[in-house]
């Protein structure tokens, strides 16, 4: 099943190269939709509470690595995010991309394959291959179809992330020579010597912190986002940034629990700085895409503090923030893309008063702005609340600082919204802009639906991961930091339910 999900985009990518422009669009759309259907099938057949690794495939060894695939709850959710966003990306590029359509679609399909591969790989080297290979199509997408300064951005993206990753590869080589296997499930239960863990942890950190991106390794992100075409930004923010969080979750925490605890202060302080600093930077941006890019850095910091809280709320919150941010930032980039396609500028000051002539756009943009801010009822709230609640039990100071970031987040997002959507129309060309087309609504509406679904009933998304969170928490419990919040349990009024459930 997983191999088929990988094969479909790969075959479609080759087919695209030999098709006409319109043919390539249809091939890409159909292939991504088929993958979405397969993904839904995956979720439907995922046995919640069953074995940790499901849909396992092992096609034997290929030299130093072997072709082993399998998913747990975390991977399932991230695979779902990828396959859900891909058809939307293809749709977003339907009319915006007119040059070299075949190669563009092929690059996107290859990206999809590599992302699914990264989340499903059960062999460490296979993971690395998928993880790094993603650089090639993204480099081409930014460099060929990007904005004016695309070449600088593409180089920066490529070299920055490559430098982070090679250090991780050295650590992987050491780990494999230590444990004698590159099988991830085995390595997850391997106790590496406490003396070596910090070095390994730092090597993985170099890679994931860049991918994430964490402050101060984030500088490639605004450049890449601003220059990438809309769909490129969507996939970058929606899925590629999640590779860093997934990496921390899959490798750093369970494989090096002691080192993770030891470096907890580093993560917490970098995250706290990131939240405040990048929020302030976002506040003064005049370019819409850059603003959203900086807000991504702030949201990713909420993910990292949640991960390194070492408790259940933190881990679940981090996962939900990742999923939520994947949807919301993708939708925000699409919203920017919609008006960019009409006016060909991302300058905030060139817009204003869109609520008057684009009411439907204003409504959807409002929803995603609120989700980004973390309004209750949207997915953003669930994730941020859980994540910060988890962190509170470890460090009250970090939580305090990060919560200010939420306030700042509300400030820059609402400020952006006010300047773009409210007020009087001052530019004539803005007045002429038509409201959302059916295609654009078809792109944004599914995301809006899922954002609300995740905000109102997060249990659907939490339940597949619950078992894995428990496993991970048990694995890292021995290293969990004491925490400074000293919560005292009150007297329970009734036996608390294990989790929220709708009873018929």
């Amino acid at each position: 099943m997983l191999s088929i999900m990988l094969a479909i985009p790969a075959i479609a990518a080759i087919a695209c190269l030999f098709a006409s422009a319109q043919g390539a669009r249809w091939i890409a759309l159909i292939a991504t939709l088929v993958d979405l259907v397969l993904g839904i099938g995956l979720w439907a057949n995922f046995d919640i509470g069953g074995p940790q690794w499901q849909f396992v495939e092992n096609a034997g060894s290929l030299g130093v690595f072997s072709w082993k695939l399998g998913i747990d709850g975390f991977a399932l959710m991230l695979v779902m995010l990828s396959v859900f966003l891909m058809p939307i990306c293809i749709g977003a590029s339907w009319v915006a991309i007119t040059e070299r359509v075949q190669e563009y679609m092929a690059a996107f399909l290859i990206t999809e394959m590599l992302m699914i591969g990264t989340f499903t790989a059960q062999d460490m080297f296979l993971f690395y291959i998928f993880f790094e290979a993603g650089l090639i199509p993204m480099y081409l997408i930014i460099g060929i179809w990007g904005g004016a300064n695309r070449i600088y951005a593409s180089y920066k993206f490529f070299l920055y992330t490559l430098l982070g990753s090679v250090l991780m590869l050295v650590a992987m080589l050491w780990m494999v020579s230590f444990s004698g296997t590159s099988d991830i499930p085995t390595l997850l239960n391997t106790d590496f010597p406490v003396r070596v863990q910090p070095w390994l942890w730092l090597a993985f950190f170099a890679s994931f912190a860049v991918k994430m991106p964490m402050w101060p390794f984030h500088t490639w992100l605004p450049d890449a986002h601003v220059q990438a075409p809309t769909a490129g930004s969507v996939i970058l923010a929606g899925v590629l940034l999640k590779l860093g969080g997934y990496g921390f979750l899959r490798f750093s925490l369970p494989m090096f629990p002691e080192a993770s605890a030891q470096f907890g202060w580093l993560i917490l302080s970098l995250s706290a700085i990131a939240v405040i600093y990048t929020s302030l930077v976002a506040l003064v941006q005049s370019d819409m895409k850059k603003l959203i890019a900086y807000s991504s850095v702030a949201h990713m910091a909420i993910v990292t503090i949640g991960l390194f809280a070492f408790n259940r709320q933190g881990l679940e919150g981090a996962m939900i923030v990742m999923l939520s941010h994947g949807l919301v930032s993708a939708a925000l980039f699409l919203c920017v893309g919609v008006i960019y396609d009409r006016l060909h500028t991302r300058e905030i000051s060139r817009y204003g008063g869109l609520a008057i002539n684009m009411p439907r756009y204003a409504l959807l943009f409002m929803l995603f702005t609120m989700a980004s801010v973390g309004l209750p009822g949207t997915s953003g709230f669930v994730g941020e609340f859980l994540s910060l609640a988890g962190t509170y039990r470890v460090s009250t100071l970090a939580t305090l600082l990060c919560t200010t970031g939420i306030i700042l987040g509300a400030a820059y997002m609402l400020y952006l919204y006010r300047r773009v959507v409210f007020g009087e129309i001052v530019h004539d060309d803005v007045r002429a802009m038509p409201d959302l087309s059916l295609r654009e609504i078809a792109l944004l509406a599914p995301i809006a639906a899922v954002v609300l679904w995740m905000g109102v009933y997060p249990e659907s998304f939490l339940s597949p991961m619950r078992g894995d969170v428990a496993t991970l928490q048990a694995r890292i419990a021995r290293a969990a930091p004491a925490g400074d919040s000293l919560p005292t349990a009150g007297k329970a009024l009734a036996t608390p339910a294990e989790h929220a459930e709708v009873r018929p």
Partner: protein, 479 residues
């Protein structure tokens, strides 16, 4: 027949074939070029078939002077393959040259060079080593200046000859020191001498021998001839220089390091580590400013030799297997890149060599650009291409050997290298198209470039299992 002669059958086939074809070309003159070329390819194939017999049995011939083991056989397969490609590529390049026709001596010289390289990788004695190396070099000097009316080609030949003679001198000096202090030229006896204890003379000999070999494989700091020779030599010859002699020189260095100087591993390891890191870093940094694609590939070859040496620095069987695997992937990538370079011709059919002229190749010749991009990403070591697996193998050997700082430094330096490979991709894919190249690739060239690209692409993973077995068998022969 004599067992020794049977073991050296590949070299005999090549030598006899070369002499016979020399007579044919003297008799037939210019008109026989085509015949001699294809006959030379046939001779190389014949030599390859001869490898399957006693030549890879693991024995040693002529009282230890010549080794017929799996290691030599593996290296020879690579050498013969690269030589055959160099012969196949030549006719079309010379056909459009300015009056410098392809002469029948060209394939004959390559055959002689291949015979010399075969001797190098099979050497079991310092004298066999030297004779093989000189036979290879003398043929190569002539090949470098094969375009007689071209000033750059003549300069390349002269430069190669003068510096090559200097390197041979250094090597001979080292050999004489080793002989003087150990009293023998046989590798096995030299190993005994090194095992017996420290000796200043032997250490000096080791340093000089490695310096001479470093020149032949163009490792920093003995690399300075490489860019000029690569740029000046006719492109098919450059493709040849970048592939077969590298395999021979590195194969020879591995054999000397392991068989003759194995007990002195700690001493030569320092030299190899220095040369490896210096080659990787210098090769990468110096390539950044290049505008000529052949010079760029020259620095790329220096850079890659550095990675190969990391495998040697490990000094283990695994390291040697990694070296052989890296070399295999490297020559495929390099030959593929040079076939693409051969397609670069302006509207009058004259070869162009600037990187800028690759601009927009992805639109004028999409398949060619895709192949070149594959080679470049692979040379940069980006997964899922096979260049990554090759780098992984050498670094794996280094990590297993406990050389962590070397692995970290090498990996970080590989990122510098990625920059200039990316530049080629950038020019092909991001820049506005320039003047389109004239002419089409011949079917043979298309076939070769397709095969090379497929081997480097993830399709090549299917060969990983078999290659792993072969390289391990070959490496085992040395230990």
């Amino acid at each position: 027949m004599n067992a020794s002669l049977l073991m050296s059958l590949p070299e005999l086939v090549l030598s006899v074939g070369a002499i016979a074809l020399m007579l044919v070309s003297a008799w037939g003159g210019q008109a026989s070029t085509r015949l001699v070329s294809w006959a030379s390819v046939a001779v190389l194939i014949g030599a390859g078939i001869a490898l399957m017999g006693p030549a890879s049995s693991g024995g040693s011939a002529f009282g230890g002077l010549y080794r017929a083991d799996a290691f030599a056989a593996f290296a020879k397969v690579l050498i013969y393959g690269a030589s055959a490609v160099a012969i196949i590529l030549a006719p079309r390049f010379f056909a459009i040259g300015s009056g410098d026709d392809l002469r029948p001596e060209y394939p004959v010289l390559i055959l002689l060079s291949a015979a010399g390289m075969g001797m190098m990788v099979s050497a079991g004695d310092l004298l066999t080593l030297y004779v093989g190396l000189e036979l290879q070099s003398l043929a190569a000097y002539v090949l470098a200046s094969f375009m007689r009316r071209d000033v750059r080609s003549a300069e390349a030949g002269l430069k190669y000859f003068v510096l090559g003679a200097l390197a041979s001198g250094i090597l001979l000096y080292g050999i004489s020191l080793v002989y003087g202090f150990s009293g023998t030229t046989l590798f096995s006896s030299i190993a005994t001498a090194y095992g017996a204890g420290q000796s200043l003379g032997l250490t000096f000999g080791l340093v000089f021998v490695f310096a001479g070999l470093a020149f032949k494989m163009s490792a920093v700091p003995f690399h300075m001839w490489t860019p000029d020779v690569y740029e000046g030599a006719p492109t098919p010859v450059t493709a040849f220089f970048a592939s077969a002699p590298k395999v021979a020189a590195i194969g020879l260095a591995v054999r000397v390091a392991v068989e003759a100087m194995g007990p002195a591993t700690d001493q030569w390891r320092q030299i190899v580590i220095f040369a490896a890191l210096a080659s990787i870093i210098f090769g990468a940094v110096a390539a950044i400013g290049q505008t000529n694609v052949k010079r760029l590939l020259a620095y790329s070859s220096i850079n890659n030799v550095g990675f190969v040496l990391i495998g040697l620095a490990a000094g283990t069987q695994e390291g040697v297997a990694a070296v052989l695997f890296y070399l295999t992937v490297y020559i495929v990538m390099t030959l593929g890149s040079f076939i693409v370079v051969l397609q670069m011709k302006d509207s009058e059919g004259q070869p162009v060599e600037t990187i800028a002229s690759l601009a927009g190749l992805s639109r004028s010749r999409p398949a060619l650009a895709l192949a070149m991009a594959t080679f470049m990403f692979s040379l940069a070591g980006i997964p899922p291409l096979l260049g990554f697996n090759a780098k992984l193998a050498v670094f794996n050997a280094a990590v297993h050997g406990g050389l962590y700082p070397l692995a970290v430094a090498g990996f970080v330096a590989s990122v510098i290298g990625a920059y200039y490979y990316l530049r080629v991709v950038k020019v092909m894919y991001f820049d506005a198209p320039g003047e389109a190249y004239s002419g089409r690739a011949t079917p043979v060239e298309s076939l070769l470039v397709t095969l090379a690209a497929l081997f480097v692409s993830p399709v090549g993973w299917l060969t990983l299992g078999a290659l792993g077995v072969w390289t391990n068998t070959a490496a085992k022969a040395l230990f």
